[in-house]
Structures are given as C-alpha cells and as structure tokens.
Symmetry: D2
C-alpha cells in the first residue's frame, strides 16, 4: 500500500516533479524528501526562495499525512526561516505531531547537506475519510 501511495505521489504531484522533489523515505506519519537545488530556485537576494523552501516542506507534509491512505488536505501551515542558503542538496523531514480522525498536525524541518537547520514548518490537515489510492 505504501508503495502505491509513493507511486501515486511520484506520478500525480506535478509540482513536486517540476521542482525535482524525491521521496527518500516514507511511512505512516513520516516522510523524508530530497531536493537538488538549481539556480532557477533563487530569489533576488541570491538565496533559495522562501516559496521553494515552503514547497519542499509542504510536499513532505503531504506525503507524511497521506501515508496512511486517508486523503488529507492542508488547512494551514506556518514556516519559520532560520538560515538562508544558495544551493546544494536539501532534505525535508516530516513527522506527525498529533494524529486525529478529522484533524491532524505535522512538523517539518528542512536541512541542507551540512545538516544546517534552514526552516521549521508546522501544518494542519483535514482528513477526508476517503482513500488516496484503491
């Protein structure tokens, strides 16, 4: 089942594909995502765009929250930026803070390949009670 959900995300999440996000590891309530950065992802200050970092965290959040095959849609998210970087490989690690029948919460941390902690994200989903994949 987890394999099917992984394939589903890899094929169907077109924004994640556009940005080259890869699922390194996933299980119920957990995901680790890798991103190879490109010059295209920089902002005017020559650092990775806050929107890029958020998108990476958001994808980890989506994978972790949907891994139990209960369709979960984001209600809200919050991101704290700690350190700006200009390139390299990034990792986003999502874990479940609180599971629930209809509402669940997750935390995601973003690191670079020197293990610098770049950003902290928290997000809330609404569980629809329908399957992600059959």
């Amino acid at each position: 089942m987890l394999t099917n959900i992984k394939s589903f995300f890899e094929k169907q999440d077109r924004f994640a594909r556009l940005l080259g996000f890869e699922i390194v590891e996933m299980r119920e309530g957990y995901a680790r995502i890798r991103a190879q950065t490109k010059e295209d992802y920089l902002n005017g200050a020559d650092v990775l765009h806050g929107g890029f970092l958020f998108a990476l965290a958001d994808y980890a959040f989506a994978v972790a929250s949907n891994a139990a095959n209960n369709l979960s849609l984001a209600i809200q998210a919050n991101i704290l930026y700690h350190k700006a970087v200009s390139g390299g490989t990034l990792y986003a690690v999502a874990h479940e803070i609180k599971d629930g029948k209809t509402i669940a919460a997750y935390e995601v941390k973003i690191y670079d390949d020197s293990d610098n902690h770049l950003a902290t994200f928290t997000g809330t989903v609404y569980r629809k009670g329908i399957k992600v994949v059959q």
Copy 2:
C-alpha cells in the same frame, strides 16, 4: 526608484520567473501579482499545489516589503487555505499591516479570476537597513 526595484525583481527573482509570476502593480507596502497557472502546478489531488499558492503569496510579500528600497528578508509566514482550484489566472494582493524600522508585517490574499478568495497569508520581515537597488 520603484521602476528599478520592479526591474530588479523581474530579472533577479529566478523562482518567480520560473513560475511566471508578473508584477501587475506595486508601490511602498503594496503589490499585486498575477500568475497564469499550468498543469505543472497541480498536486496529486488535481488542484493547485499549496506550495505554489504559498510561493505566489510569498512573492507579493517580497515585492511589497522591498518596495521602499530597504532590503527586507522574511522571518516567517503563515498561510490559511480557503478554497482549492485547478487552474486559471490567480492574483495575490499584498498590503502592509505594520511598518517598522527593523520588523514589519504584511498580509496577502490570493484570488482566482472569479474573485474567489483562495488563501490568506501573513508574514513578517526583518529590515536590513541596506538598499535593494542603488
């Protein structure tokens, strides 16, 4: 000066260029951004990716907060998702909630071309006290 800052964002913010974000209007503490959506911006649920919506709001936030030519870097942001859509032209409208010498806050609302309110974003910047453009 505003023209120079607009040009700076248009040339230097590569992530905004990648995603096709256009500055429709900007002045100190205000920005309106337009995005033509593509299938590439969809998630697995066939709606525009939360990361895409955030990136759009974040760009409006960056443009509005830097329009006074005082380099302003995001500390944090929060997004509330109200309605999911699958395509069309979107607009992000940013305005200043509170100006300040070192800390300032902004609100951004995202709308589709039927004026549906899709998301509400708030964000905080740290003002560096240096110019964006000479």
Copy 3:
C-alpha cells in the same frame, strides 16, 4: 438567538470573565470585545503580556465564530505583535475571512483606545455541527 449566545459567553466563559472581557457588539462572523487593562496583566518588561493580548483576540475569535450557533472549536491560531503598550482600554475586532461547513477562518485585530494597531491574529475553527445554545 444572538442574545442567548451572548449571554452564554458572558456566563460560561470563565476565563473571559476573569480577565474582564466584554462583548460590545456581535453578529454572525463578527465580534468586537473590550478589555480594561490592569497592572496584573503586565509582563516583566512592563507592557501588556503577549498571552493577555492573545487571550483577548482569542475571545473575539470564539464569539465571532460561534455567533451562528454552530459550535466551533479552535484548531490553531497565529498572532503577530506590532506595538507594545502598558495599559488603557483595548478592543479586539474579529471578522470572518472564510466560512465553511466544517472549517472556517477568522482575522482579529487588536487596537488601543488611541486606535494604535497592537496585534493581528488569524485563527481556524472546526465546526462541530451542534448548537451552542438550544
């Protein structure tokens, strides 16, 4: 009905009573709350405690979100502090950003009696689908 909900909050919300919060005006999706501040509400820096400001905003949020007599419980909230003050009469004004069957969002602004904007709060509720008052 609105009168009953108002009475319900005035009698049953013991924390709001402890802190002297008064409902000045309320209707579906809207509330205006007044607070007379006291020295007891100050923090170590001799300004009103962030927790006090949040509690005031949170009460406005609760009143506005429950005014339609559909029990609504807070899922999350975010507060941005703009200006610190040490006393006087404060007002929190809540309005609905987005209504929804199960999820709804609100914004609350806090002002002092000179109309200084002290804080901006956003919050999300889960609607239980049961009545607040019979």
Copy 4:
C-alpha cells in the same frame, strides 16, 4: 545570573503570577513551566481556554528566550491545539529551535499530568541586545 533572571520573572511578570505559572526548570534556551488549573480558566465549552493554554506556552517561551540575559521580545507566535482538557496540572516545555544575534525561534509543547500532548506552539523573538537583569 540564571537565579536572578528566574527571580526577575517570578516578581515582575504579573500576568504569570495572576495565572499561577511556576518556573520548574530553566537554562539558556530552555524552560519548563507548571500551571495548576482552576475553574476560572475554563471557556464556555467547559475546557481550558485556548487563551490560557497560549499564555502558559508564551510564558515558557519568554523564560527560555530571555535566559541568556539578552532581552528578547516576541514578534509572533503560532499555536496548534491538539486535545482539550478540563483541569489538572499542566506543563509547558520550551526549547530553542534556532538562536541568532537578533532573531531567534522557539518551540513549546504543552502536556497534562498524564503526558497527553495538548498543544504545540512556535514563536519568534527579536533580541534587543540589552540585559534583562544587571
């Protein structure tokens, strides 16, 4: 020095005293706070008020962020509510996510005395560069 800062908070934070918050443990970037709840802290739904939970987390955040004797003022905070309870002894545990010369971030978790995780809070401070106590 830590003893002086602890005494400072115990004497000067009048809102924390009003609500009976006690510093159980503190060191640079860390604080654990205890609260004995009372009926006065309940809301209309007969559970502890969201504003009370926030105030508790906010106090842990203030103690942890000021423990290095560099006056640190809250810029913003976000709270996710996981579980509602009606009484007992609560604990708020704050730790530093990211230190910085002018901006720093903290996470606070609230637990009840059965170790149920009630809420997750994140917050950002601005460091003033002046001492809390001489």
